[in-house]
Amino acid sequence: MSEPVIKCQSVYKIFGANAERMLKEANGNVDAKTFQDNGCIVGVNNASFEVSKGEMLVVMGLSGSGKSTLLRCISRLTDATGGKIFIEGQDLLNLNNKELIDLRRNKMGMVFQSFALLPHKTVLENIAFPLQIKGIKTEDSINKAMDMVKLVGLDGRENYFPRELSGGQQQRVGIARSLAVEPDIWFLDEPFSALDPLIRKEMQDEFLRLQEKLQKTIMFITHDFDEALKLADRIAIMKDGIIEQLDTPANIVLNPATEYVRKFTEEVPREKVLLIKDVMDETTSSDIGDLKVSKDEIIENVAEKILTQEKTVAVIDSKNNVVGSINPAKIINTVFGGRKSNN
């Protein structure tokens, strides 16, 4: 794989008067309790991870877990107290003000929970805002913004003011604005949390559609575990500033690393999350039936078919090659087995 787009090496963010000195003294062994006694609050504690090109990393955590702080360190809306952050190989924390502004103008886009639209500008002007800040001619920026309006499906409302739009529409404007400069890296800070459940689902689908088309490198913050499972390539679960586990949705559901993560996964309907390939046997047994299922199917969609078989079912890839097998017992075990409540 090529160089990661975002790379964090033991990033710390500590709020408080002597945060830096305390961090140095702690020598890489930060304990939230001791820091709190000294008037410091630990926001992010030793976060290290990489995000590669076109990947969507979802950071999941409850409020106060430091997920938004982590995002703000990586977008440098706040300065990290310790550690290193690289954006496409550039050392983010060593950029001067001008370089930082350049980076934001060309490479980064961000969507906010409360939409954060400028109340005095129309939809079109809001979307054109980052372009105009960059110094692009009014006419060009308006044309480009108009394309964005179409992309998020707000045609006909481009001359409305934010106050005249519903929450979902406002967030579409926020998304369009963040995409206007065609950034490579896309930050989304709980973009759908302020929306009604139905609108939220609609926006998630819309978001997946966009991502399929655009293939951005994404960091997505949410407090909704289901949302994380639905969208993520990989999920990072945070608690008290520490990344508890960083893995694919399937692995998190199947092998929770800590007790905290397990609590989240307990209630998850696995058949809706896991794919066949997550649970199949890599070996192909000889006793195989006629039914073949794709390895990228969600279990729920094919469970009924598999369960009616008596024999093991072959698993194929997109080129129709058999890559593994799965037997009905395994499906039953996956869906119902291994849960505490089933003891």
């Binding site: 977008s75 400028l118 005095h120 400069v181």
Partner: protein, 700 residues
């Protein structure tokens, strides 16, 4: 307990005269004296438990001397003089103030001559000789028809039909009743003072927002300026900038900038952090962030600040007539001085009309949502500018026809000269006489009763209290409410007044203010609560408060002088009327801020209207009502000080005296600080209490 013990332990000394003469002016062998920093302070010594010696008596003298030193001796430098074509040695500060003065004068004259016509602006660019050679070169001034219709168009653009009609009617009224010239003088003064105050206030507000250090440096000044009577600032300005409109503009800026700073700061602070982050992520640099994101988002608060600035400007337009500002204010003061109530009423009415107009216009501007003009054609976009163009041409034509029609005498279509319009002064004067003739007996009886049975005992109570006892009382209150910190602040403020030579005067000021506040609060709380029972009356009352608040404070003196003549009663009634406004407003707002959910919950538990009022609404609204009390005190103090114009024996009288005194700057300023400190003592106590109470109730 110790307080009462102190009160009774010390009797009034036999030699003590309530309201002492001013120590430093009278030389008397019975006086004691001390020398501090080379300044001799003379005073009558009493038992220190009774009255503290004026240990700060040197302060006004010292301020005076420093000012004179700055103006006349500090850093003399060579400056090029245009008129005499040679270098001249002048102290730096004097040169700076003179340049400022010239600049302000130019601005005022420019606007004044656009409205009224004149020579000064052209002279500023050329010379008197050039004017003599070219007698045609004179700004002609706009006919009143153009100004009136123009303001109506502006009003229409900002606030719609109603406001436009109001603008047209009031402007026409002003013209027909012959107040055009002074009104335009006042307007030109405001059109200079308000934008300048806005610019300074906005930039200082932005600076304070960006830097904690600037904010900390500004904070005490803002605090004192909030409670400082506007009178008091006049005196130092007189020394620095001399007499005239320019000094008035500068002084107005000093008074008007603090509220602008506060509101700018408030607005910028209220911008949601995510909007700022969105701006940053869009790649704004600091300047773009401020000008394209922060200020437009905080627009509403900033424009409310503009509204405040305009209101202060009107109030100052009258007060600064004391230092020679021309216009309605000057006419008003003159008329009051001559006891010509009718004339005063006319001038006061005009100034109130313009004040209400500008107030409504700026508020309409603040609440106006920006429209999108992208898909309008040229005529639709510029229809207001175009119609103004048409009005200008029509107005000039009218004025031209007028000049043919009114060949002899005055061209009424161009300008109705002062005192040539319709005047209602005689009518009002007769009215006043009639009121006096008819009701004199009753008014006098009421007056006597009030003074003898209420005011004098109250005044005696305040004055008989030994200084130490008052100090213990105030500091004790501070300790009980806000702990040691509050006690220390309050103690410092009180000590400053007690150690100044004007403790007795301050007591008189406080007694008048207290009386006013007590009555105002009783009225305000009652009226507010009653009006709150019905939605329509609530809105009606808030509107009434708005309009009353728009009147420049001096205007309140007119009707009370009409009814009660020149007595303390007049002042007190003006105080009560003026201070009732905030009391009523805050009561209504406080009651309104009680959450609707609680209302419903209370109703569902079956309370009666009275139970709801006393068990739920009052306790919750009380902190906000106390903030109203705070405002009431500030308003009352202002009016008491202004009341000195009618003749009261308090601090205000000395401020007024200092205005006509060559060495008055230090005295005026120190007196102003004393008044400000009286306000701040109550401010500190009330705010601390409200803060705790709100925290306790979990509001905010």
């Amino acid at each position: 307990m110790s307080f009462f013990a102190l009160c009774f332990a010390i009797d009034v000394p036999e030699t003590y005269k309530f309201i002492r003469g001013q120590a430093e002016f009278v030389k008397d062998p019975n006086q004691s004296a001390f020398v501090f920093l080379g300044k001799e302070v003379r005073y009558y010594a009493f038992d220190v438990f009774w009255r503290l010696p004026p240990l700060l008596g040197w302060l006004p003298i010292w301020i005076n001397d420093s000012l004179f030193f700055l103006m006349n001796d500090w850093m003399p430098m060579e400056f090029w003089n245009e008129d005499t074509q040679e270098y001249k040695t002048r102290p730096l500060v004097l040169q700076i103030t003179r340049n400022l003065t010239a600049f302000m004068t130019f601005l005022i004259e420019l606007i004044r001559e656009i409205l009224l016509g004149g020579l000064e602006t052209i002279v500023a660019f050329t010379s008197w000789d050039w004017i003599d050679a070219n007698p045609w070169a004179e700004l002609p001034g706009l006919p009143w028809t153009i100004v009136a219709t123009g303001s109506a168009i502006l009003a229409y653009k900002l606030g719609g039909k109603g406001l436009a009609i109001y603008a047209l009617l009031s402007m026409t009224y002003i013209s027909i009743f012959g107040q055009w010239k002074p009104s335009m003088q006042t307007l030109s003064f405001i059109l200079v003072a308000a934008p300048l105050s806005f610019i300074f206030g906005l930039s200082l507000g932005v600076a304070a927002y960006k830097s904690k250090r600037v904010e900390k440096a500004l904070y005490p000044i803002l605090l004192v300026m909030q409670t400082m009577p506007q009178y008091a600032v006049l005196v130092p300005a007189l020394v620095l900038f001399g007499v005239g409109d320019h000094a008035a503009v500068i002084i107005t800026m000093i008074v008007a900038v603090p509220p602008m700073i506060l509101l700018t700061l408030l607005g910028l602070r209220a911008v949601p952090p995510e909007v700022i982050e969105a701006g940053r992520m869009s790649g704004c640099n600091n300047w773009q962030l401020m000008s394209k994101v922060l200020i437009p988002t905080a627009r509403r608060d900033i424009l409310i600040g503009v509204n405040q600035v305009i209101m202060v400007c009107f109030s100052m337009a009258v007060i600064s007539a004391f230092i020679g500002a021309k216009g309605l204010g000057f006419n008003l003061l003159l008329a009051l001085n001559q006891l010509n109530i009718g004339l005063a009423l006319e001038a006061g009415l005009c100034i109130s009309l313009i004040a209400i107009l500008l107030d409504k216009m700026s508020l309409a501007w603040a609440n106006k949502q920006v429209d999108y003009f992208g898909n309008l054609n040229f005529f639709q976009r510029n229809k207001n500018a175009l119609s103004f163009g048409v009005v200008v041409i029509a107005g000039i034509l009218l004025a031209y026809f007028g000049s043919i029609y009114f060949k002899e005498g005055y061209n009424y279509l161009f300008e109705v000269p002062h005192n040539k319009g319709i005047s209602t002064a005689d009518f009002w004067n007769k009215g006043v006489d009639w009121i006096f003739d008819t009701f004199f007996v009753y008014i006098k009886a009421f007056n006597t009763w009030l003074i003898v049975d209420v005011l004098q005992p109250m005044r005696a109570l305040y004055l008989r209290m030994p200084a130490i006892a008052t100090l213990v009382l105030v500091v004790g209150a501070g300790y009980l409410i806000g702990g040691v910190r509050s006690a220390l602040v309050v103690c410092g403020l009180t000590l400053f007044i007690a150690l100044s030579p004007w403790w007795d005067r301050a007591l008189v000021t406080t007694y008048m203010a207290t009386f006013g506040v007590l009555v105002s609060c009783t009225i305000g709380f009652t009226v507010g609560t009653l009006c709150f029972q019905n939605k329509h009356s609530t809105n009606f009352m808030l509107n009434v408060c708005d309009i009353f608040q728009t009147f420049p404070s001096f205007v309140y003196l007119i009707p009370v002088m009409m009814l009660f003549g020149i007595t303390d009663t007049s002042v007190l009634i003006a105080v009560i009327v003026y201070a009732t406004i905030p009391a009523t407003r805050y009561t209504i707002e406080g009651l309104r801020s009680v959450p609707a959910g609680l209302h419903d919950a209370a109703t569902m538990s079956g309370v009666t209207k009275f139970q709801r009022l006393f068990k739920i609404e009052f306790p919750l609204a009380f902190p906000h009502m106390m903030l109203g009390l705070n405002q009431t005190i500030v308003f009352a103090l202002f009016m008491v000080i202004i009341g000195a114009f009618i003749g009261t024996e308090d601090l205000g009288q000395y401020i007024l005296k200092a205005l006509s005194d060559k060495k008055g700057a230090g005295i005026g300023l120190t007196l102003g600080i004393c008044v400000a400190f009286i306000g701040l003592i109550f401010d500190n106590l009330i705010r601390t209490w409200v803060g705790q109470r709100k925290k306790h109730l979990g509001i905010d």
